[in-house]
């Protein structure tokens, strides 16, 4: 095993060095330099760690290498992730990639994001996603020609905040409020369990379900809810419209719920309800009413009904507390987050992404032409 481990370590060091060699310097788009630097640092630290493991291996007996193998596997995983989600983004430096990165830079300034802006690449095989390891947002290749779903970039930036808020002083308020929400969620379900124990009759199944709901809130849902609210508070109604649009295109069941199986995302219905609460809290009351009315008229609302237990998962008071506390945190961290600030942004991306929905609803057919023209204009402005 020692000989084989030696071979793997050599191979992996060589792979790391080769990956660094793939990136062409100077880069075509300076916006990607932070990504190149990040990839390089991750690869270097793994190469350094592998060299340390090489030395450590020599001290060991043949049957005493379990931890070395684990650590080598850890390095391999990290270098592979850099290759899949970092180097690949740097390898394809097309004009579309240049446009998306300039766009995110502009959003970064508009919302006052106190972090290095994430990089963007358009090689996603799914919808939008963010990779915290390399700090890259992945979008489908066609997105560079349209506007309606670009609102989702704001949600993905929310994931960047989540990934960094513990270690950034400027995000301390957001972090504190997030922790507070987490405690409120735990308090809520602890009280729920106490009440349940006082009831008569069998309760084991319900108790397990409540424990599962709590687990999903703290492990998955709160993160997604945070990102939704972040997008609502920094962009406004456009994000809720984009959620409605995506739901009508892809929905299976907006009240999806399982008492046992964990769901990584809260239901589409709960997300929309939270977005409506959030919009109302920053003054978009008329827009919230309009979006809710449109949502309620959709077939996915009329065709489905939630199971009774569903309501235990998304109580309105918890959603309201969450929306209020996170709004406080986002405001205290000095993000741009009020109706006035969003609307007063004369030539900003936020204004454009909200405007596109107004035009779309007025006349969807004419919208196509307006959108193409607006995208051309936007690209040209970003080049300046």
């Amino acid at each position: 095993m020692k000989d084989y481990l030696r071979g793997i370590i050599y191979e992996q060091i060589n792979r790391g060095l080769s990956l660094k060699d793939i990136v062409n310097h100077p880069l075509k788009y300076t916006e990607l330099e932070s990504l190149a630097d990040r990839c390089s640092r991750i690869i270097d630290s793994n190469i350094q760690y592998l060299r340390y493991l090489q030395k450590e291996l020599e001290k060991r007996d043949e049957d005493d290498t379990r931890d070395i193998l684990r650590s080598v596997k850890g390095c391999i995983r990290e270098v592979d992730l850099v290759e899949y989600f970092g180097i690949s983004a740097l390898y394809v430096e097309t004009d579309d990639v240049g446009y998306l990165n300039k766009l995110v830079r502009k959003i970064h300034k508009e919302i006052n994001l106190p972090l290095i802006p994430p990089s963007v690449t358009c090689i996603s095989t799914k919808h939008y996603s963010f990779h915290a390891f390399t700090n890259v947002i992945f979008v489908p290749v066609g997105e560079t020609r349209f506007l309606l779903h670009l609102a989702d970039v704001f949600h993905e930036i929310g994931h960047e905040i989540l990934a960094n808020m513990e270690n950034e002083l400027s995000l301390r308020c957001v972090n504190q409020k997030y922790d507070l929400v987490l405690r409120r969620v735990t308090d809520y379900y602890r009280d729920f369990l106490i009440r349940l124990e006082r009831e008569t009759g069998p309760k084991r199944t319900r108790r397990i379900m409540i424990q599962n709901i709590h687990y999903q809130w703290k492990t998955y849902w709160l993160k997604e809810f945070f990102c939704d609210l972040f997008a609502i508070y920094t962009l406004g109604p456009a994000y809720a419209w984009a959620h409605l649009h995506l739901t009508i295109k892809k929905y299976e069941n907006i009240y999806e719920f399982s008492p046992i199986l964990p769901m990584t995302h809260p239901s589409d219905d709960s997300r929309m309800r939270l977005m409506i609460i959030g919009l109302e809290k920053i003054g978009f009351k008329a827009e919230a009413k309009k979006i809710l009315s449109k949502w309620n008229s959709m077939p996915f609302v009329a065709e489905n009904e939630p199971v009774i237990e569903y309501h235990d998962a998304y109580p309105i008071e918890l959603l309201d507390t969450l929306a209020q506390l996170l709004l406080n945190g986002i405001k205290e961290s000095k993000f741009v987050s009020s109706k006035k600030m969003i609307e007063n942004d004369s030539d900003g991306i936020k204004k454009l992404l909200n405007q596109c929905w107004e035009i779309f609803w007025k006349n969807p057919e004419e919208y196509i032409e307006w959108e193409a023209k607006s995208v051309r204009q936007l690209k040209s402005n970003l080049e300046k």
Partner: protein
């Protein structure tokens, strides 16, 4: 909006915990740590970051904050040692008590147990890695 972000975040946390756990394990393997000093305290903390939530979830509890996804790691350990589970569970609890005591030395059996725990966490990392890198 995909699951990727969530799994990537869990992967990062678990990978960091695993690396630190293994570094702590090597620290004690070198025969250090009998004396309570800052260095050995740090190494113990790194082991307990992983072991604490495991021990908590051996009973029924809602652990509010855990550096690792305790459910999956415990499940992996339980599956791997299902035949001797009551004894094995007891050994984990005893090791946990030992690490929390003022003075201790680790036996060969303790190191085997620590390696088993780390391997369960490694499996969880491998699982998360697959989730974030697979094509659907």
């Amino acid at each position: 909006m995909g699951d990727l972000s969530i799994f990537a975040s869990r992967f990062s946390i678990n990978s960091k915990s695993l690396r630190e756990f293994d570094e702590a394990l090597r620290y004690f393997k070198d025969g250090k740590g009998v004396q309570r000093n800052l260095e050995s305290k740090m190494a113990i903390d790194r082991l307990l970051t992983v072991i604490d939530p495991i021990v908590k979830s051996l009973g029924v509890s809602i652990a509010e904050s855990a550096a690792i996804n305790e459910r999956s790691v415990v499940k992996i350990i339980r599956n791997r040692h299902s035949k001797e589970w009551p004894i094995y569970k007891d050994r984990i609890e005893k090791l946990h008590d030992k690490l929390n005591s003022d003075k201790f030395s680790l036996t060969k059996k303790d190191f085997t147990l620590l390696n088993d725990i780390a391997e369960a966490l490694d499996s969880e990392c491998a699982h998360l890695f697959r989730r974030i890198s697979e094509k659907k």
